[in-house]
Amino acid sequence: MASFKPTKIQVYPKLGEKVTQDTLYWKNYKAPVQIKEFGAVTSIDFSPVTPHNFAVTAFTRIHIYGPFSQEPVKSFTRFKDTAYCGRFRSDGQLLVAGCEDSVVRLFDVSGKVALRLFKGHTKAVHLTDFTSDRYQILTGSDDYTCRLWDIPNATELTTYREHTDYIRCGVTSKLNRDLFITGSYDHTVKLFDARVEKSVITMDHGQPVESVLLYPSEGLLVSAGGRHVKVWDLLKGGQPLVSLKNHHKTVTSLALSSNGQRLLSASLDRHVKVYSTTNYKVVHNFDYAASILSLALAPDDESIVVGMTNSILSIKHRKNQEDSKEIAGQQRRRPSYRVFVKGKNYVPKQDDYLVSKPVKEHLAKYDKQLRRFNVSKALDTALETWIRFRKPEITMAVIKELDRRGTLKNALAGRDERGLSQLLNFLIGNFVDARFTPVLVTAAEMILDIYQSIIGQSPLVDRQLLRLQDLVEKELDYQKELLEVLGMLDTMFASSLPRKEVPCSGIGKSNGLTQGEPTTLDWV
């Protein structure tokens, strides 16, 4: 009895998307919290200090949200017109924002009224940022100029008039207080040095630049504009490193995951793509409901915040590892857990005398029936509704085992209308699955042999057989087409393989080959 081997359930590889570390990592987020803003969300910025609040610029307001709050903890509404680019200072105390009315406003995060107004631009200001020494502000405007301002006395320090179109994005260096980068709709990205009062490096992006991003090391620069994302090497004087084209509409926003290993780009085509920064391949993809204007990641990737044109702000929080584990553990424990586990987890000490006890083998129900040679019942068990739909591979394994024993015919025979229709249902459901077809064809043939005499007596069975026939017919048509495709592929492989030998066999042959290609077309 002990020698009975349970039926081996074949494990089929799960089809579909390849599961990588990245997909697991980026899928480990909760369902998004969606907040309706007053207008298109144009900018999101995380505070550099804990608790990492984030400022959301939308329409004429800037809302500041806490890391887990769904209501704004603070809002700045004193804008005359649409606000742009609300950014925190590196100490998280001050916030600067541009506006359509060309005035730049500086706020204390705890206050309400603007501390300073910077007037001087003549058109809308889309870019604002603090320099790394925390006492100056960089602004870029639609009047083609970018300026540096002194915070304490609200005066303009320098004006740069090198761009020839709107300046829409930019970033200051976090390491050097004199360096900053601006991106403009004149297709260029310029690196400025405040000490020499002119641009040091100019990079041609090729499309209007919508967003720029510096690596934490500040050796690499990423620019986004049009459908392209481009990476530049600043240390080599602005040499293009790589150009990525994975969106079909304008890329609007860029972000780095906190450890700098992954680059994220958001676009009007509603996707956020995650790239690996080692080989710049897309490793993951998020879909959103509307065109995305802004994207930001919390430190340590705790949350992904995305702002869209339909004025919805979507916040995805990272799933807490401990939470999910605890829930799983609780589910496993049933009331009888303690009874069964009693003493089982006792680890024997060195002096203990061990009495070995044979482990009781647990057999599935169909295995028990198979052991008793109740083949028909075993098949019945394997055809139970739950198994049939959820785990067809178990049913398949049992049928296979029966076939191996040569008792499949017995197991299939002697069924009434209900049993037979159940069996046929299973056949119809799984017949076209390439993994199951070989076994099921045998079974189907046997069923037909056994039950051919009663065909025509039950409308239900007849209908199912007709469906089966239909299915087989379609599958055959399909496979016929596939065979044709195989033939095409064969021809192509045949015509491409000798190509490698061309150098040794001479030129005349290669001519013949190129002439041979139209024939494949005709043949097709």
Binding site: L15, H248, T250, D269, H271, L465, Y478, L482, L486
Partner: protein
């Protein structure tokens, strides 16, 4: 909208970001009922009234203060019998039935006055002033009594009595400026809106309901049904500045009407809307909306409760001229005709609008009924949903009357028009010549976009095409760089899905069209190897399957034959007039034995043999007189 270029998106982005400063919209209204007149107020403050029948300028009026106090809104008064001139303000319905004509026109001005202009007199009827301190944003007539409501920047609503020319009452409606008003069809309720929509009871002047949700100023309010408010059947719709949605609100008895129930999507903010209200649940609300971008959207919807998804228009119209590169002509206003098929349009410039009746835009089936489609010289209707594309819609026609005073278009002869139509239809059907059909062009672009960004929804949309021609042309115009990604995508679906029969067509098309390109790839085998293996493993069972199919086929034809023959067994006999003793015997035998055979279920040897017998018998019967038949019959007897 996936097809629009990046530049278009940038502009959309800027537009979305610039927020809500209100824009200049010129008031433009058709007269009620007969639609005989179109009142238009231009930038210079002149009021022009156009006759839509004759397409001529009917009247022009220049208010004395037309530059300082420009007209901001106009509204036609309810139709009344014009008998003794405008002195009789009170309409008497019991009077002799004379043709009712639109007469009075109320104009709100930026200075806070309301001018009443009479078209019958052709002169100013009276001026209502002294009540508003800010500019008038909207005027609305009471449907029955001679009352007029006006909403203003000074946040007040004023009720004017036209018989006395004085204010009857005035009350503060909102904290913000009152931008829109609407009186219910039964005249008992009034809707007003600043940022919050309020519903007033007109008897008591108290707020009946409040509806919040719009973030910008509400510019449009209309009642969509004529049902009483306590039956949950009263609906109204609202549109706001910079909002590309029209929201429909339900006034519910239980007060649970916090959110809008339905919304209609537009391409831009609504500029002019017209609707045919529904009186009962079975009647659909028809809606024509002219957007700021000059497009007309037609909707039809049954208002019977909430609908989560925003509704898209059933038809979209964009006028354009017929030059080599058609420029869109903005629509000014549109009204729905009394029957379901006509729409009256006004388009072109404010100074010289073109008015036209267009037949049947709502249902495509009806389009084909029109006998002689005439493409108007100046305008043509573009395919719905494809702004900017050049192919004219094949069947859409406009029953345009010949205009006597045409603006500046030169008339085309009928022959020229027909020629133009023919050309367009040929270019759509002329697939063999490889001319660009709109559909496949889009598909190729879509496919490239989908492959570029790996967008599942776009790819699904493209791959669901069943038309071979479309697939072929799409693949043919695919750029080479997209071929390999497509093959990869196809391979992926092959691995995934059980029945990728549609994908086979794509694969075949790719292999046929890009043979030389694929063959020229140095690493072809590695590129297509996976695909090859997947297909090979799939067709491994072909042989066995074919056999099984044969078996099934045989059995099932027997079944169907059995069913037939069991009924007509006798007649078959008579037909062939077989009198042979053996046969009749076998017949008898078969009949007598067939009853147990038919009701038993478990297979037994006797029944089995009987079944075989009957089968042989039938084959024999089908070919009487044959030699083979005789042996068959012998066999039958033997086995019995």
């Amino acid at each position: 909208w996936e097809v629009l270029g990046p530049s278009a998106h940038v502009s959309a982005l800027e537009m979305a970001a610039d927020g809500g400063s209100s824009s200049l919209q010129l008031p433009c209204v058709f007269s009620p009922k007969s639609r005989q007149f179109l009142a238009l107020c231009a930038q210079d403050g002149r009021l022009r009234i156009w006759n839509t029948d004759s397409k001529t300028l009917h009247q022009e009026y220049v208010p004395s203060a037309h530059l300082s106090a420009t007209c901001t809104c106009i509204a036609w008064g309810p139709c009344r019998t014009v008998k003794e001139g405008p002195q009789r303000k009170k309409r008497k319905s019991e009077a002799v039935q004379v043709e009712e004509k639109a007469d009075l026109l109320a104009m709100g001005t930026a200075a806070g006055t309301v001018l009443i202009y009479s078209t019958a007199k052709g002169a100013l009827h009276c001026t209502l002033d002294g009540a508003h301190s800010g500019g008038v944003n909207c005027v609305q007539w009471h449907p029955e009594e001679s009352l007029l409501y006006s909403g203003s920047d000074d946040t007040n609503i004023v009720e004017w009595d036209l018989q006395t020319g004085k204010t009857r009452s005035k009350w503060k409606a909102d904290r913000a400026a009152v931008t829109s008003l609407c009186v219910s069809p039964d005249g008992k309720l009034l809707l007003s809106a600043g940022h919050i929509i309020k519903m007033w009871d007109l008897d008591t002047k108290e707020v009946y309901r409040k509806f919040t949700g719009h973030s910008t100023a509400v510019t449009t309010l209309r009642f969509a049904t004529t049902r009483p408010p306590d039956s949950n059947g009263l609906y109204f719709l609202s549109g706001a500045a910079h909002d590309r949605l029209l929201s429909v609100w339900q006034v519910r008895e239980d007060g649970k009407d916090k959110n809008s129930v339905v919304s209609f999507t537009l391409t831009d903010e609504p500029q002019h809307i017209d609707l045919v209200t529904s009186n009962s649940k079975e009647e659909a609300v028809r809606l024509a909306v002219v957007c700021k971008d000059g497009q007309l959207h037609l909707f039809e919807h049954f208002l019977n409760g909430p609908c989560k998804k925003p509704l898209s228009p059933s038809c979209t119209v964009q006028m354009s001229d017929t030059k080599e590169s058609p420029m869109p002509i903005p629509l000014l206003a549109a009204v729905l005709g009394a029957d379901t098929r006509t729409v009256m349009l006004a388009y072109g410039s404010h100074l010289q609008p073109v008015m036209e009746k267009v037949v049947s835009l709502l249902k495509e089936t009806e389009i084909h009924d029109v006998k002689t489609p005439i493409v108007n010289a100046k305008s043509k209707v573009l395919v719905p949903g494809l702004p900017g594309h050049q192919a004219p819609l094949k069947g859409t026609s406009q029953g345009s009357e010949k205009r006597k005073k045409d603006t500046d278009t030169k008339e085309m002869s009928i022959a020229e028009r027909l020629g133009e139509i023919d050309l367009s239809t040929i270019s759509e059907k002329g697939a063999s010549k490889g001319t660009a059909s709109l559909q496949t062009d889009n598909f190729a672009v879509l496919l490239v976009q989908g492959l570029e960004s790996n967008d599942a929804s776009i790819l699904n949309k493209v791959f669901q095409t069943r038309k071979d021609m479309v697939i072929k042309k799409t693949v043919a115009r695919l750029p080479l760089s997209a071929v390999l990604p497509l093959v990869e995508e196809v391979t992926y679906t092959f691995v995934l899905s059980y029945r990728a029969s549609l994908m086979v067509r794509w694969l075949k098309a790719v292999l046929m069209h890009h043979t030389s390109y694929l063959a020229s790839l140095p690493d072809l085998v590695t590129q297509l190897g996976v695909l090859y293996h997947v297909i090979e493993s799939r067709v491994k069972m072909f042989h066995k399957l074919t056999k099984l199919h044969g078996k099934l086929y045989l059995l099932m034809t027997q079944v169907s034959a059995n069913i037939c023959s069991a009924a007509s067994f006798k007649s078959v006999f008579e037909d062939y007039s077989l009198t042979s003793q053996e046969l009749s015997l076998s017949h008898k035998e078969r009949m007598s034995l067939s009853s147990p055979h038919f009701c038993s279920y478990t297979p037994g040897s006797c029944e089995k043999s009987l079944h075989v017998v009957s089968k042989h018998l039938m084959t024999a019967l089908r070919a009487p007189g044959d030699r083979f038949c005789k042996t068959e019959l012998d066999f039958v007897l033997f086995s019995v």
